[in-house]
Structures are given as structure tokens and as C-alpha cells.
């Protein structure tokens, strides 16, 4: 598209400003009076489902997450409560930020020979790309806890260890209602 088509020269009505100013004022005032009317009705307890704003009042009121959102990591468990992780190092290899540190160890049972002795994630380095989740062959790591408030005063505070990762469960109440999270 030619630039000159996009920026047409101002017409006479544009150049005398006043009609365009009134057009703009009409728009903003329509919003103002409709929202003010809705706020007034709510203040008197009428029409409480009609909102005068689109604001989510965050700490009290949360915007529902969609299931694809990547939030803080967790490690899933088997039926008997042991971690699904087999310490195959796939996630550690796939991680572009190199923030996953796994130390593997042996396990006496026959079927599963390797388990992680430690499984640390440095959230200070993590870029939340989700490659670890995609790389995992055992569906052992997921990013569906719904925890997004991640902060700490120290670098060490951003480290997650195996016990912490295993303790998280997805916060279903933070997600949109229609979704069925696969448990």
C-alpha cells in the first residue's frame, strides 16, 4: 500500500477542527455517561450485573487464566505418590536458559531404574518457554500451577527444589470455568 494513500490530505472539515472535535467529544461523552449511569445504578444496588468498567481489581479479583498459560512449574506424581520423573535429563538439555539442575540416582525397583536425587529450577533464570514440558517423555513436569506471583528479595529465594515442586497442585479456581484440566 502506498504511503500517500494512507495519509490523505486533510479535507476542509478536518482543517476547521470543530466538527472533528465535536465528534471526538461525542464519543468520549457517550462512554462517560453510560459508565457513570452504570456506576450510579450499582451504587444503589440496581443492575449489579451491568459493569461501568472493564477493570479487574487485581488482588481481590483475578482475571481467569486460559489453560495454555505457562505459570510456575510443578512435578507430577504417580498413583503411589512417587515422582513421575525418571531423571532422563531431557528437560535439562532442552532448557534454553539452563535453569534446571538434576542429579540422578538409582532406584532399587526393576521397572524404574533412575530417579532424581535433586531437581532444582532457578526461576531467576527461567524464561517460561515451556520447552521442558514439551521435552518430557513421562509427563512429569508441567507448568499449570496457576502461580504467577513469583518474587524474592534474594537470588536463593528464586530456587525451587524437588520437594517444593512436588508439593504444588494446580489452582483450578484461577482458570476459566469451561476448561477441564487433565489431572
Amino acid at each position: 500500500m502506498n504511503v500517500h494513500d494512507k495519509y490523505k490530505p486533510l479535507t476542509f472539515w478536518d482543517r476547521i477542527f470543530l466538527p472533528r472535535v465535536l465528534q471526538g467529544l461525542w464519543l468520549t461523552n457517550a462512554h462517560f455517561f453510560r459508565n457513570m449511569w452504570a456506576h450510579t445504578l450499582r451504587a444503589f444496588g440496581l443492575k449489579t450485573d451491568w459493569k461501568g468498567s472493564i477493570t479487574y481489581q487485581y488482588p481481590e479479583e483475578r482475571r481467569p487464566f486460559f489453560p495454555r498459560l505457562r505459570t510456575m512449574h510443578r512435578l507430577t506424581k504417580r498413583e503411589d505418590g512417587t515422582p513421575r520423573c525418571v531423571a532422563c535429563m531431557m528437560c535439562e538439555t532442552a532448557c534454553p536458559a539452563k535453569c534446571i539442575y538434576i542429579v540422578a540416582t538409582e532406584r532399587p525397583e526393576k521397572q524404574i531404574e533412575k530417579v532424581p536425587a535433586t531437581f532444582d529450577i532457578d526461576l531467576g533464570k527461567c524464561v517460561f518457554c515451556g520447552y521442558c514440558v514439551e521435552a518430557c517423555p513421562e509427563d512429569a513436569i508441567r507448568m499449570d500451577t496457576g502461580i504467577i506471583e513469583i518474587s524474592s528479595y534474594t537470588r536463593n529465594g528464586m530456587m525451587l527444589n524437588k520437594d517444593m515442586l512436588l508439593s504444588f497442585t494446580p489452582k483450578k479456581e484461577y482458570y476459566v470455568k469451561e476448561t477441564s484440566l487433565v489431572e
Binding site: 476547521i16 471526538g24 467529544l25 457513570m36 461501568g52 468498567s53
Partner: protein, 360 residues
């Protein structure tokens, strides 16, 4: 002695009671009105004991913040001028309220007290003289702060304010011609007349073009959007770039006080000032001939309330414009002032003169 006491009481009541509290309230109004216009809620978090009061406590929180912040003077700044410039700006904005009539005459203990701090015969000229002095506060502050961006803002402010000073002066001459006086109280009293026995002879009815011109140039004088090239947050931050703490707060407050001032002058010249339609000194004289008698104190309260209400409406309109329009480019500001507003104002004077002679 008595005149000093009454004047001091009037200053305390009108300047500090009316102007300052309204200016403080406007910081809240601006936030909330823009929020409602943009489908938001606006500042509502400052609370005292859990009560939020629609965010009204943000006024207190803001002023506490302004007072306790570090007051910083940059090295290389002219310390004395840098310190007095915000005060000058505020001082000249407040000084103009001396001539604004807030009401007619109130009778206390049998003595008439005019509800105007000083009834000057050259009222409107005095107001414009003081308003054009306001540019000193801006330019001195910008120059003394030893900052290139600040100086750019100051240069823009001075060019803009001096250009629009011409147009604003010419735009009101039509009103002065119609009411045949330059005294503000005289103009307001003249607007109490009725056209054809029922229509109040307000300035907006006899000078509609003058009203639009005055409002436009008046908004340009307040240096607020769409004429905020001197500030231009996104490009040069403006003449107060080096100011912090309450010195910045004074510039901030000056903006709102100038808004109130322009609203008050618009009301005085074009919207009948303290006039309530059909309300005379002794009560309502309705056009169908009936009379509703009221005491002097009731009439005075009605007049001051009408003035306040009209000022509030004008401020609402100015805030609306401020939150609707984008900023004019600097060359557009200049061409609008010199090429459009000034010729139309001159044509308005000519047409008004012709019409006055024809109607005689």
C-alpha cells in the same frame, strides 16, 4: 481598618476556601473523570481505616507525598530564581481571582458587602494583565534550571502564551462592545437583562463565536492538552523537568488553578456569572408577571451556588476536551493561533459592531 478586615475575610473565603479546595479536588476529578471516560475505575486504593471514599483520600496521600519528597536543586541552577519561579507562577494565577465576582451584594448588619474581593473598574484588563504575567513563572523556572529540555519547554511556553494572549484579548472585545463596560461586575449585572422579556441576555447568546474563540484560547493559556506543547510529556517533559517535591507540586497546582480561572472568566463573561435567570435582588421576577420574594441571604447563597455550578460545568467541559483530543504539533499551535483564531476574532469584532449599529 474595616475594609482591610472584610477584604482579608473575603480572600480567606474565596481564594483559600473556594479556589484552593477546588484545585485539590480537581486532581481527583481529573483521575476519576478520565477513568470513567476510558472504561476504567481510577485511583481508589488510598484508604483510612478501610474506608476508601471513592479514592478521595488520594488528595491527602498526594499532598503528603509532595511535601515529604526530596527537594532537589540541580547543580548549575540559579538557586534563587529556581526557588521563587514556582511561587511566582502560583502567585499570578491566584492574583487574578481578586477581580472575579462570586456574587452580588450581601447585607451584613445593615452594611452592604460586595461578594467580590476588589471591584476594579478595569476588571477584565487587570485579569488579562495578571494572566500574562504568569508566563514569567514558567520561563524563569525553565531558564534557571540549567536544562536544555527545560529551556525548550520554556521557549515554547512563552511563544505559545504570547501568541494566544493576542487572540484572547481580541476575542473578548465583542463582549465588551455588547455590554459597554470593562468592569467584571458591570458585565455580570448587564447579563441580568432579558431579551424580549424572557431570554436572559447571557454572553453566549449574544456572542456565540466569541465564546468558542475565548474557550479555545483560554484552554491554550492553561497549557493543557491539546495545547500542551510546553509540557509534551512524551518528547521534552517540559519547563518543570528539574523540579521535584512541592516545587513541582506548585506548578501542578497552577495548572488546575488556571483551569479554574479560565472557567471562572468564561462563566463571568459568557454564562451570566452569578446570575440565576429571573432572580433579582429581592427574589424571582418570572416573565409571566409573578414574584417570589426571597431574603437577601438566600439570594446571595443562590448566586454563589449558581456561580460554583457554572464553573463546575465549564471545568467538566474543559476536562472532557483535555481527555479527548491529542496534542497539537507546535507549528499547528502557532498557525491555529495566528492564522485562524486571530482573523476570526477580528471579523467577530467587525460583525458585532455592524450588528450593534443596525439594531440601534
Amino acid at each position: 481598618m474595616e475594609i482591610i478586615v472584610t477584604t482579608l475575610i473575603k480572600i480567606l473565603f474565596f481564594v483559600f476556601g473556594f479556589v484552593f479546595s477546588l484545585a485539590a479536588l480537581l486532581t481527583w476529578v481529573e483521575r476519576k473523570q478520565s477513568a470513567v471516560m476510558q472504561d476504567r475505575i481510577g485511583a481508589n486504593r488510598a484508604a483510612i481505616l478501610g474506608f476508601r471514599a471513592l479514592g478521595l483520600f488520594h488528595i491527602i496521600a498526594d499532598s503528603v507525598k509532595m511535601f515529604v519528597k526530596e527537594d532537589f536543586t540541580p547543580s548549575g541552577a540559579k538557586r534563587f530564581i529556581f526557588s521563587i519561579a514556582p511561587g511566582l507562577s502560583l502567585f499570578f494565577a491566584l492574583l487574578a481571582f481578586v477581580a472575579i465576582p462570586f456574587g452580588d451584594t450581601l447585607i451584613v448588619n445593615g452594611k452592604p458587602i460586595s461578594l467580590q474581593i476588589a471591584d476594579l473598574d478595569v476588571g477584565i484588563l487587570y485579569v488579562f494583565a495578571v494572566m500574562s504575567m504568569g508566563v514569567y513563572g514558567v520561563v524563569l523556572g525553565a531558564w534557571a534550571s540549567n536544562n536544555n529540555y527545560g529551556m525548550l519547554g520554556g521557549l515554547r511556553a512563552s511563544a505559545q502564551m504570547i501568541s494566544y494572549e493576542v487572540a484572547i484579548g481580541v476575542s473578548i472585545i465583542g463582549v465588551l462592545m455588547v455590554f459597554e463596560t470593562v468592569s467584571l461586575s458591570g458585565i455580570v449585572k448587564a447579563q441580568g437583562q432579558l431579551i424580549g422579556g424572557w431570554l436572559p441576555k447571557w454572553g453566549i447568546l449574544v456572542q456565540p463565536i466569541g465564546f468558542l474563540l475565548f474557550l479555545t484560547t483560554g484552554i491554550a493559556e492553561t497549557k493543557r492538552i491539546p495545547f500542551d506543547a510546553p509540557e509534551g510529556e512524551s518528547e521534552i517533559v517540559g519547563y518543570f523537568i528539574e523540579y521535584s517535591s512541592m516545587r513541582f507540586g506548585m506548578y501542578f497546582l497552577t495548572d488546575f488553578i488556571e483551569t479554574i480561572l479560565i472557567a471562572a472568566i468564561t462563566v463571568t463573561l459568557f454564562l451570566g456569572g452569578w446570575q440565576v435567570p429571573y432572580l433579582m435582588a429581592d427574589g424571582f421576577h418570572f416573565p409571566w408577571g409573578s414574584l417570589w420574594q426571597l431574603s437577601n441571604i438566600t439570594v446571595s447563597i443562590l448566586q454563589v451556588a449558581a456561580f460554583t455550578f457554572k464553573v463546575a460545568i465549564m471545568i467538566f467541559i474543559m476536562m472532557n476536551i483535555r481527555w479527548t483530543l491529542p496534542r497539537f504539533r507546535y507549528d499547528q499551535v502557532m498557525s491555529l493561533g495566528w492564522k485562524i483564531l486571530l482573523p476570526i476574532s477580528l471579523a467577530n469584532i467587525f460583525i458585532t459592531g455592524v450588528l450593534i449599529i443596525l439594531m440601534r
